[in-house]
């Protein structure tokens, strides 16, 4: 086994072995408690510049395949796990996780006490860290690298994660029985601003009847509105939302235009900033697939997928904001709607992938909003 180590900015050292590419990688170390969906997590652009530790100890059980991806490559800066089983077993698996990681040049470490790591992150907050994998790993050097990572505060990654060129999206979710992506009918023209968009968002928009035009992050609001869409979608994405001034500006214009507007994750934060609100860095964020969120309109509790390190400070939002969803883990604002225009957003991930499908209804709500605006 090839040695690997993980060093945190606080000096904690974890020694394990390499399960991916060799080399060195740095980023913000976060933990995700979802027990399934590692391929979706790795390919989720919101994990850009993050070293993800998965708390479930066996990762790689079902191998990797071509369908369970949220973008065209691995986005996480590194992977930290307790164990990668020798045998992947699933009828859809085409490649083992280590093969997949190597092919995508992702540095990954296994064999460490991930629970100890998680407890450090829980108590001290997300840490800058460095994974080194290879025969000559050096903890001192790794510590220097970890501390040299600037952190995500103030870092604009949306434009990095975004598509360089516009494209259209039409296919729905993967049908496990038919072994094919669904091909839904198109009813609405939607422009989706890509700040690091997950494919399952595109798939669920398509299934809600949207003919989706994906545009680069820095596309101006005027250009978007000139396309005469029925609605605009603000995607999820990595980094500090407050640093995305172009996106905040565009969002402000969409709000002014009173065009149906739906935001997810970073999209919610952008909408808050556009409304004059503030966002803040969370201690260790929300990363998991078991987060209870209460729908304040109907009182129901939904189990949601979450992945965010920044949150909206609800006290800074204007009066035309009506909270619609709240986290039952820590009371943070999980969704809101505007009272005077057709705009709403959600902090978690209604598209799941990975995670429960409980809150898929938000996509239908967007469709309905566009229907009503017609």
């Amino acid at each position: 086994m090839i040695p690997a180590l993980l060093v945190l900015e606080d000096g904690s050292v974890f020694r394990g072995h390499a399960v991916g590419a060799l080399g060195e990688t740095v980023g913000e170390v976060v933990f995700n408690t979802s027990m399934s969906g590692y391929q979706e997590i790795l390919t989720d652009p919101s994990y850009m510049r993050q070293l993800v530790t998965l708390t479930y100890p066996h990762i790689g059980n079902t191998g990797c395949n071509a369908e369970d991806v949220e973008s065209d490559h691995v986005q996480a800066a590194g992977l930290i796990v307790r164990d990668v089983p020798r045998m992947a077993s699933n009828w859809r698996s085409t490649e083992s996780l280590p093969e997949y990681l190597k092919r995508h040049d992702v540095v990954a470490i296994a064999g460490i006490d991930t629970r100890r790591l998680t407890r450090i992150l829980r108590d001290k907050g997300a840490q800058r860290g460095c994974i080194m994998a290879g025969e000559s790993v050096d903890a001192d050097k790794a510590l220097v690298s970890a501390r040299a990572f600037p952190g995500l505060d103030g870092m604009d990654l949306a434009k990095v994660a975004s598509t360089p060129a516009p494209y259209e999206w039409a296919e729905g979710t993967w049908d496990l029985d038919a072994q094919a992506f669904k091909q839904p009918a198109k009813r609405f023209k939607v422009v989706a601003l890509d700040y690091g968009i997950k494919r399952n968002i595109l798939r669920l928009l398509a299934e809600a009847g949207c003919d989706v035009h994906v545009m680069p992050a820095q596309t101006s609001a005027d250009d978007v509105l000139a396309m005469q869409p029925d609605g605009v979608f603000l995607s999820n994405g990595p980094g500090d939302p407050a640093a995305c001034d172009y996106a905040i500006e565009a969002t402000r214009k969409f709000l002014d235009a009173k065009i149906p507007l739906f935001g997810i994750c970073l999209g919610q934060q952008l909408m808050s900033l556009a409304l004059g609100g503030k966002t803040l860095k969370m201690k260790f964020g929300h990363h998991g697939a078991n987060h209870p969120v209460k729908d304040l309109d109907n009182g129901r509790v939904y189990i949601t997928s979450q992945n965010h390190g920044f949150a909206v400070d609800p006290d800074t939002l204007p009066d035309n904001v009506r909270a619609t969803h709240r986290s039952l883990f820590d009371g943070t604002l999980q969704g809101f709607a505007l009272t005077d225009r057709p705009a709403f957003c959600f902090q978690g991930h209604p598209e799941a992938s990975p995670g429960p499908h409980d809150i898929h209804y938000l996509f239908d709500r967007f469709a309905q909003m566009m229907q009503e605006a017609h």
């Binding site: 369908e67 369970d68 164990d83 460490i112 006490d113 883990f329």
Partner: protein
Amino acid sequence: MPKRTDLKSILIIGAGPIVIGQACEFDYSGAQACKALKEEGFRVILVNSNPATIMTDPETADAVYIEPINWQTVEKIIAKERPDAVLPTMGGQTGLNCALALADHGVLEKYDVELVGASREAIEMAEDRELFRKAMDDIGLESPRAELVETWEQAVEAQKKLGFPAICRPSFTLGGSGGGIAYNIEEYEAIIKRGLELSPVHSVLVDESLLGWKEYEMEVVRDHADNCIIVCAIENLDPMGVHTGDSITVAPAQTLTDKEYQRMRDASIAVLRKIGVDTGGSNVQFGVDPKTGRQVVIEMNPRVSRSSALASKATGFPIAKIAAKLAVGYTLDELDNDITGGRTPASFEPTLDYVITKIPRFAFEKFPSASSRLGTQMQAVGEVMAVGRNFSESLQKALRGLETGKSGFDPTGLDFADEDDMATLRRELREPGPDRMFYLGDAFRSGMTLEQVFDHTHIDPWFLAPIEDIIAAEKAVAEQGLTALDAERMFELKRMGFSDKRLAQLLNTDEAALRQLRHTLNVRPVYKRVDSCAAEFATSTAYMYSTYEEECEADPSDREKILVLGGGPNRIGQGIEFDYCCVHAAQSLREDGYETIMVNCNPETVSTDYDTSDRLFFEPLTLEDVLEIVHLENPKGVIVQYGGQTPLKLARALEAAGVPIIGTTPDSIDLAEDRERFQQLINRLGLKQPPNRIARTPEEALTLANEIGYPLVVRPSYVLGGRAMEIVYADADLARYIRDAVKVSEDSPVLLDRFLDHATEVDVDIVADADGRILVGGIMEHIEEAGVHSGDSSCSLPPYSLTAEVQDELRRQVTLLARELKVVGIMNTQFAVQDDNIFILEVNPRASRTVPFVSKATGLSMAKVAARAMAGKTLAAQDMTREIVPQYYSVKEAIFPFLKFQNVDPILGPEMRSTGEVMGVGHNFGAAFARSHEAAAIKAPPLGKMFLSVRDADKDRLVPIAKEALQRGYSLVATAGTSAFLNDHGVACEHINKVAEGRPHIVDLIKNGEVVYIVNTTEGRQAIADSFSIRREALQQHVTYSTTIAGAKALLHSLDFRGEGEVNSLQDLHDKLNQDVHPA
């Protein structure tokens, strides 16, 4: 919406006696439900016939009825208590069936009682396979193709459509009773006909075969606002075809991608909504085709279940407690997740950062004539659960926690060069039995590839690979030798879950030396917490497991601690009674200010509920695992006498390692179990034992047998539950026993005791303190004569026929014994009384099976008093010095699993085979006996033909019974010898052929439904074999039978009281107790 205020009192229906398929997990669930509802201020009324439960402690509910669970009795309770609601979902199938019967008979309507937790419609839709299938069709979920048949002719048609193998499941039976897989038409006919018979609605569902498919269970909780959560997804290691209760299962699900898992999650929730489980926990089972991923719904249970108990322990999410609160109006978000100290709500899905493995434990050694192949009917009697940070560790911990003498993947002893042995190996892989894991290990040892093993077993390769790795590691360890074990290698092996003992075996050293080496290398386990949230939130709940990692979270305190060692997996002879005692020890010492620490690995129990003790270590009960915990916690005292043989076996070694054992010393325990030392003690005290000898060679056995004379009870030394015990009547019997049943040697001698015919057996339970003061808990007179294992016989407290003089003499003798043995804690003594001669059969200076029964009958919490005595509080200091002899009678009756095992003789004997017990209370013995039979669902024979066939020694005693039967209006029929004898004694009796004498014979008569009651006593191996078909047929045809004269006599007397008399709550009974009979 918060708690409903329109409900004031709620009746909870328990699950009744422990039977295969319905065990102490329902005590765990039921006790939680009672506690939860009491906490909410409801008046909780409980009915459960099983005295050996925590839920029937008077503290658990406001009114506890240890009464039969049938609608007639429950109606009486409802009429008396007038509850507002009935919660039927905590008592397993028994609870649901009783609730349905109450609804069917209009009882709920008559008394305006609401069914909460699950509606009648929901129960019916979930339980009726045809309705369920239609419901699944309605919501677009696939089920296996199937046909419901009600006749053999329909079954033939169904089979033509579905092909072989055909999976047969009778409707509405417990644990899949009577089900099976048929590979040919002959088997099919046998299974269908038995299934139609066993099903209370006489229908069987024939399913398309999903053999080899993957099997999953989802534990779902729903509240009335339609909030749904999945508490746990469980994946079976055994593929479809093995009942899930008999399967090795793993949590969380391992081999599903997120897409597949979420599809299953969506389907589970859709099932609950469709079935209409408005509130509470349910489980939904799925099959998945490993080749295509096709997913089908197998079944659902609209109630808490065995798997919900497992899921609760696996995740730290108390399903039954939450389900009970949801049933009274709460929603999930209004309830706390206790394990995080309320930091998070109950409306979330637990996430695991460890792997859970459950392995069932079987008792086929008790039923040698039954097939030990696993199938669709559950046969396991217990289970072990283990927690590890990877599957290998979890699996190997579970294997050693099973306590079947294995310390990991021990070889089975097959010779791989021998073609017959290889054929055995392949068969064991293809047709799994209880030891399949060990054959799997051998398969890899024999050089089979993973693909070959998969082809034989269809176990998912994900599970096979780590087993292959473990076997490869074993080989490397053996080859590299002790010197290769440096700290790094040792750590690596311990991370794979290897026990010290297994490593020692591989290295030809002893366990102590290996452990010494490990400690020298400073390789020790750390303890992680089960917190439901993978460490995302801090927890103060000390629910822990060992593993080999970097960080230890145990955080031991410096308080005064008492550590209680539990009983491990349930088995016949060691079950819930011992868990009951352990729980009481923890409760009482916690009340007294000690920090209590529980160690156990049985997920079904109350003892492994994380709030029973201050700290819970979910660990195997092996010397290694216990020593490490003691090292960590440094307790003031360790209690070994409550968990049955499991901790007792460790007592000597623990003591030798300096562990402070409190209560009776291991030496005294040993003294009582060592025949020779014990005999000297008996002689010293001037007491009597049946003449007995110890033989160390077969020749010696025959010589000694003739010295004391036949009949003899023979058994190997050191047994619990009468394993391999037999009564022999002649040299030939003894010779055969020694040849077939046991290995006699210097190390494992065989014990010979003169069998006392027609003697009355008596159990006496006492508590003793360090001052030598004795408190008699209860004297129990057995109904069946000596010779029937004490765990299998029914008994009465107080005695119903023993004279006051004999009882006083028993008190005198137990006092002498307890003082001589320096007992501190509980002591159980078994006597045989023959014509006023008192013989001591055995003394057990430890908790016995009868402790909970005595406690329920007398109101004296023996286990609590004794635990305090062990911790140093004298009986006087506890003000517990007076024996309580109730004016009412309590009868304990044993419950047997014979229907589950084909070809097993239900005759009672010295080998214990009962799985559970019920209790009946009455103002006299007959009334109590009748009530206990109602609780055991033993039919009162209607008027008709009674069949008599008794051994010669019983013929005199049969005459009064026969006369009474005639007086009661029965007619008599008997085989030649018995009928001639009766006719000679002026009792009119018809004659019928024995089976061997030509037709029509007695079995024809039984099959034709012409016999209402059978009295059949017999002795000697041949006579027993000859009459086997009579007893078996009686069992199948539900004809009441007695296999002892005393049992028959008691049954006839009790007929006057069947269905009569009022129902009594334990609280009312205990209030009336006369506290002043016998001073201590």
